[in-house]
Amino acid sequence: MADTPAPAIAAPSVRTVTPVMLVALSILGGWLVLALAAPVIAPYDPDAIDILNMLSPPSAAHWFGTDQVGRDVFSRVLFASRVDLLLCVAGVLPPLVIGTTIGLLSGYFGGLVDTVFMRIYDLTVAFPFFVLVLAIVGVLGPGLLNFILALTLVGWVSYARLVRAQVLTIRESEYIQAARCLGYPPAAILAHHVLPNAIGPVIAYAVSDAVLVMLAGASFGFLGMGAQPPLAEWGVMIADGQAFVQQAWWICLFPGLAAISLGLGFALLGDGLGQLQRRGVTA
């Protein structure tokens, strides 16, 4: 064929993993291992009070020092990672699933569903995200479960909006028109043709969103609206340590660094996925 032969550039596989993403995956994997193995690794019971050893600085016995009631900060950071990791998953998955479903329906079928959704969207973005979640949690009562509930109540809207925007473009593409012309059932078109092409940016967004969820979770713990003491959670630990930060900086420092490193794992992964998405689009 005289027609330009298949582009020699063997189309870059969208699944290529960049070095940065490798770093991100190892951070996340590392935290997962630490969280699962916390009972084995932790040198102390995270809740064991030891009045004789309160506010002792980092040492060979207590790597990260102890807090105001003598609990081992290292053990607590490890156990807290279980709460915070779970928080990331529980705070991202429900909005992701609900939002994607509604976004697909709203974008593909339009009509009443779409109108109603867009009004809900307009209304939700009128509230500062943090304030709305805070107000809902405050009214429902502090606690992790209510935090997740509020997060889902507010968060699905962004996912739905993103999916809807994707679907609006995909819906107009000729391969969807062809699928309709070929008489495929709407459910098959949505599941087999629309969703796989719409989901990429959503996954990238969800991973980046995990950072926001973790930070929000820690912030709520800090404000006393999320996880409740004595449960070990990074935000709660930082809040506990705030009063003693003059004498014992280590109580606050280590949970914060833990939060940053986990956040970095998600953020770098999200960034890498986003870049692959963009490259995939231009390729």
Binding site: F127, L134, S219, F222, M225, I260
Partner: protein, 312 residues
């Protein structure tokens, strides 16, 4: 005039959104577990007192009637009464809003110059060393919990070095500047990466834009191209993001103000939440939402002013 048309249409939209906001804030308090009348009356009030309060506040009426009363109150400027302070919420907000507004403006002044500089630096050679560093540091900046950074900074700059006060609002303009420096920096450290990423991406996108090639083909120098063609076109998406971020910051003030004990709306909000002072929460949520809507409106008008294509 398209601008006038836009304004009218946006104002009409605004009314719908405001109605929605009032409904949500109304329902917010009704979501609260427990009896609002009991809350108003206090823990130890007798059943008769509670019943009296219930009919006095119209809490025995059907929900839609209560909502209408709420709407009517809103229209007359009454957004509720604080149970704890026994003062109208509007008065409390007037009292507490200045530190928050000052802080917001302060953050913007601190954040915008480095944003523009870093974005230009990064976009000048996309993928270069400077760009990579800016990008990675930016990503790292996003992951720092603001409250933790606040505590660490106040411990280091405030307590160890004694350069800045670690709490309060100060007296007079310079006093405010001095007291709010650490809170403003902690917020800016998080804001700058977000804005830089957006502006950088827009600049890089415009570098490859056809109209830039055309300007080059007409003999424009690189400097002229950057300032006259690329920057104005790249600034629009960032402007929109800035609007979103300012709204976000007003909300995020809750955290920073708590850490640095700034007597602003955020502190008021947290105290009201912890003290179950629901009408203050309701009033504040309403005010936050209305400010967000106004900020979005301002950004839209500004965008329409810069970009002749915008019509909505």
């Amino acid at each position: 005039m398209p601008l006038l048309q836009l304004l009218v249409r946006r104002l009409l939209q605004l009314i719908g959104v405001l109605a929605g906001i009032s409904l949500v804030t109304f329902l917010l308090v009704h979501m609260a577990p427990g009896d609002p009348a009991r809350l108003l009356a206090g823990e130890r009030a007798s059943a008769e007192t509670v019943a009296a309060i219930r009919s006095q506040y119209g809490l025995d009426l059907p929900l839609w009637r209560q909502f209408l009363t709420y709407l009517a109150n809103l229209l007359s400027g009454d957004i509720g009464l604080s149970l704890r302070f026994q003062r109208p919420v509007i008065q409390l907000i007037e009292q507490f809003m200045w530190p928050t507004l000052f802080l917001t403006a302060y953050v913007l002044c601190l954040a915008i110059p480095p944003t523009v500089a870093l974005a230009i630096l990064g976009a000048r050679r996309p993928g270069g060393i400077a760009d990579q560093i800016i990008r990675l540091v930016g990503i790292a900046g996003l992951t720092i919990p603001v409250f933790w950074l606040g505590i660490m900074m106040s411990r280091f700059f405030g307590v160890s070095l004694g350069w800045f006060p670690v709490s309060g609002y100060g007296v007079g303009f310079t006093g405010h500047l001095h007291h709010l420096f650490l809170p403003a920096v902690s917020t800016a450290i998080w804001l700058v990466p977000v804005l830089t990423q957006s502006l950088r991406a827009a600049l890089i996108e415009k570098t490859a834009a056809d109209f830039v090639t055309a300007a080059r083909a007409q003999g424009a120098t690189e400097r002229q191209i950057f300032w006259q063609t690329m920057l104005p076109n790249a600034v629009l998406p960032t402007l929109n993001l800035l609007g979103v971020m300012v709204a976000f910051m007003i909300g995020g003030a809750v955290i920073v103000e708590t850490v640095y004990a700034v007597p602003g709306l955020g502190t008021l909000m947290v105290n009201a939440l912890l003290g179950r002072d629901y009408y203050v929460v309701q009033g504040l949520t309403l005010v936050f939402a209305v400010s967000t809507v106004l900020i979005t409106l301002t950004v839209d008008l500004l965008t329409a002013f810069i970009d002749p294509r915008v019509r909505l």
